[in-house]
Structure formats: C-alpha cells, structure tokens
C-alpha cells in the first residue's frame, strides 16, 4: 500500500503534463455557469438541492485534480471521505430533529 522510495523519486522526476489542471479549471467554470443559469429556472427547495449537488461535483473535481487525491495513498483518501461523511451526518441528525418537530 505504501509507496516505495523509488516511486516517490520517479513521480518527482517527470511530473505529468499540466493539461489536466487546465481541463479541471474549464470544467469548474462550466459547472459554475450551469449552477448560475439553473437558479433562474428551478423553484423552491429543489433548486437548493440541485445547486448543492453541483457544488459537491465541483468540490470533488478540486479534490481529485488540484489536491491530487487521485495520486495519494488510500489513507489520505479515507481521511477526506470520512471528514465529509461526518459533516453530512451532523446535518442529517439536526434535520431529523427540526424537520419532524
């Protein structure tokens, strides 16, 4: 599971091309435009849910490409996932109370 020393050196020797960063930037800007456009169309809570899912997609792109989660170890990816899961868990617990009171 852990990377050997040579792998670390190899990665540093010839890092990939910068293309994936440019591609990620374009994707993020398009999604932002999409969210902005959608908010005129959707109504009520549905609009908020749509906007938040698109935001989640954007954050995953930032995480995988810019923060290089794709290339990091399993442990680092688990930390990212666990942190997000517990934020959602807190919101659900609170919603379960306020929503059904």
């Amino acid at each position: 599971m852990d990377k050997t020393e040579s792998q670390v050196m190899a990665e540093r020797e010839h890092p990939g091309s910068g293309g994936k960063y440019v591609f990620a930037l374009i994707a993020l800007l398009c999604l932002t435009a999409l969210t902005f456009g959608l908010h005129y169309v959707t109504v009520g809570e549905l609009g908020m849910i749509v906007a938040l899912t698109i935001a989640a997609v954007k954050v995953t792109i930032v995480g995988l490409v810019f923060m290089e989660l794709r290339r990091s170890m399993v442990a680092t990816r688990t930390v990212a996932a666990v942190a997000v899961v517990f934020v959602v868990l807190l919101c659900l617990g609170v919603f379960a109370d306020v929503g059904f009171r």
Binding site: A83, V94, R101
Partner: protein
Amino acid sequence: MTSYLTETTGIKSWLLTKDHKRIGLLFMIATALALMLGGVFALLIRFELVSPGPDFLDGLTYNRMFTHHGVVMVFLFMVPVIPTVFGNFFLPMMLGAPDVAFPRLNLASFYVYCAGAAIVLAALWFGGIDTGWTFYTPYSATSPTSVAIAAFGVFVVGVSSILTGLNFIVTVHTLRAKNLRWLEMPLFVWAIYATAIIQVIATPVLGMSLLLVALDHAWGLGIFDPSMGGDPVLFQHLFWFYSHPAVYIMILPAMGVVSEVVCTFSHNRPSSYRAIAFSSLGIAFIGFLTWGHHMFVAGMSVVDVGVFGILSMMVAIFSAIKVFTWTLTLKHGRIRFTTPMLYFFGFMFLFVFGGMTGVAVATSSLDVHWTDTYFVVAHFHFIMVGGTLTMYLAAIHYWFPKMFGRMYPERWGLIGAAGVILGFIFTFTPQFLLGNAGMPRRYWTYPPDYQWLNVASTAGATILALGLLVTLGYLIWALFKGPKAERNPWGSRGYEWLAPTPPPVHNFEAPLEITRGPYDYHLPET
C-alpha cells in the same frame, strides 16, 4: 545508553524538549494537578450536600463548584490524560519508532494545552462559571459569570487535543517498525489510534459551539438566542455531537490499558485480538451516531428520539464484546495478583455495571424519569471514575518501572487500590438510589428525605479521597526511594519492554527488528 531522564539536564532541556517521553511526563504533571484541583471541587460539593439546607456555600457559589468540578475534570483531566501521558510515552515505543511523527507539533500541543488551561483557570478565578460543564444556552448566554473566557479557554484546550490526535494517527500510519503489520500492533496502540480519530473529528465541532456561546455571552451575537427566533436545542445538538464521542475519548484509552494489563498479568494472549482491535474502531465510528440520547426530553422530535434510541443500543455491543474478550483472556492464564490486576478487577465490575446502566438510560421511556437526576450522575461517574480513573492508576503502576526505573511498593499499592475502589462504590451507589427517588442533579438544597443517601455518598467520597492521597504518597516516595527495577519486571511480551529501563532518548539501541507478536506468551521470552 544513558536514560532519557539524565541525557540532558536543566530546566531548558525539559521545557523545550522534543522527546516524546519527556513531553509525556510534562503532561503527567499537568493532568495530575488538574485531577487534584477537580477533586477539591468534588469534595466541596459533597460536604455542602451533607445537609438539605445551605451549609457553608450559597447558591451561586455551589453552582460554581459543580461547574468548575465538571470543566476541570472533563476538559483538563479525563479527555487528555491517558493519550497525552501514556500515549505519548509508549505509542512510539510500541511501534518500535524513535519518536512521534511530528516532535515539534507534540511540544506545541503541550503548550497549547497549558495556554488553554491557564485561560480556563483565569476564568474560574475571576468570577467563575455557574452554567454547568455543558454550557447550555440561553442560561450560559445570560449568566453574570465569566462564561465567554472559560468557553474560549476550553476551545484552546480542544485545539491541543486535535494536535495530539493528528500526531498519533500519522505516527501509527508511517512509523511502524520494519515488518510490524497492522494486525500485530499492541492493542493499546489500536485504542489510542481510535481515540485519536475521534479527537480529530469531534473536537472542532465543540470548538465552534463554544465559540458561538462565547460570542453570544460577550457581544450578544446569539445564534441560539430564543428572543431572536433562535433555538437553544440546536446548541445541545452541536454540544453533544462532540460530548458523546468525548466520553469514548475518555474510555477507549482506558480499554487499551486494560488489554495490556490483562494480557501481561494473566500471562496469556488476548482470547480474540481482532475482536478487541476492531471493536475499538467500531466504538470510534458508531459513537458518532448516538448523541441524541442526551436530549430525549429536550424537546426533540419523537422521530429523532426513536432513531437515536436504537443507535445507542448498537454502540453498547462493542463494549460488551471487549468485556467478554477480556474475561476469556483470563482463561488458561497464569494470573499474578498485583496492584494493576486489582484495578483491573475493580474496572471489570464498575465498568460493566456502569455500562449496563448506560444501556438502561438509553431506553427512551426510562430516560424521561432518569435524565437530569442523580441516576445519570452515578452512571457517568461509574464509567469515568470506575473506568478511566482506575485504569489511569493501573497504567501508572504497570508502567512505573519502565518510566522511572523504580518499583512501587506492592503492599501499599493494594491498599491504595482497595481504598479507591471501595470508596468509589460507597460514593456512587447511593446516587443511583437518589436518582431513582427523583433528586435532580445540580441541586444546592434538596427535600430532607434525600439526606441520608447524600450523607452516605459523602462518607464514600472521603474514603475515595483518602485512597487517592495514599496512592499519591507512596508513588512520590517510590519515585526517589523505590528499589531499582530491571528491564522487564512483569515478563511482558510488549515491545515497549524490549527497550532498556529507563529507555534512552531514541528508545532502542538499534532500530527494532520485530521477530514475534506482542502477545506470544506461549514462547519463551527472547
């Protein structure tokens, strides 16, 4: 190899040390002082409650006493103690590593703890706090006492807890010895690892909720303020989202010590290594789903009461798995009856009884009668004092030879342990009955018919205090006058005992080569 105690001398070498063992000792001193301060507040409470009417404290002062007892004990002693003292000292040694992953961060964590503790003690000195350690709004926002400073102080202590947790998780992941696999690490390492996960995930939410209370109290920026349409129950959600996992931060390291003590003194491998290791992680993650059982009567929706009720039942299973596995570890062993073993037996009875009353309190209809009464006070003291304090004392005795190179007096140890355990039972069993009779908690005066139970509880408290004083006495004596200890007095197979006593600065002469498991008692000691 010179001992880490004498490698470099002088105050600067101690205060600016980056050696995980010295930082462990610094934390030991700080947390021991916090324990004594909290104990003083506890005794003041017990003596005030001897008679129904006001004795020597008035209402506001009594409320300050139990709040200070709660804040000092929970945030300055129970949450940090075992991870920062024994986790710091023995985690690297049990992994065969020379030090923790980030030594400077380790020292920073100590000084952040001291800063936070100083702020909290300043708040207690100038005006004190009387909201209870739970800081429930809106009273915490309107209380005339210095709540804002105390809340900020606890936030700073929380930051130190996050730094320690972060350091330990990285250490376990990256500093294991050459061929030390995950399923061959000592069980104490698993317990500290699970605790560190909870510390890193839960503490920030406490920090935020206390900051919101501090802002509300100081400048009226209340987000929970009912006069602004806010909902005080939401503060309870955020507070208990931290505070229930926090009770697992307190008990999990104690369970790690139990696993080590049981295996060493019964000279036997754990009856199921995986059960104990994975139930530590189970407690860590499922512990986050059960915070609502503190709020059954707080005005939560009935749906939430049901959901949190069933989830609270699940988490009890992991503790039950651990208890059965420890009991079966005694089977086929060669049990030596030393002070840590007496503490283990005390732990077994008190923790099991305390844990079962916990499941009883999680039953929603019974909780309506019990919550906020002395039944709940007795329950969490059975777990905290009966579980964590006994194992803190057992850990001091178990690792005393390795930490200080000297042996404690066995006879005195047994007397101290007996005093602590009996004193504890005498103090808190009457409180179960007080809770059943309906005496609410945090009461300064109470109806006269509860008096005799309170008097019994105070008597028990004095025995407990005496037991702790005796323990402190002979431990300090043993520190200087105790007989020299050899490398492995208990014949334990733990990796920390492979290092010389007391260990050098980087723990082992040569990087540790793992050739056997940590519990191979069926093989002769190499």
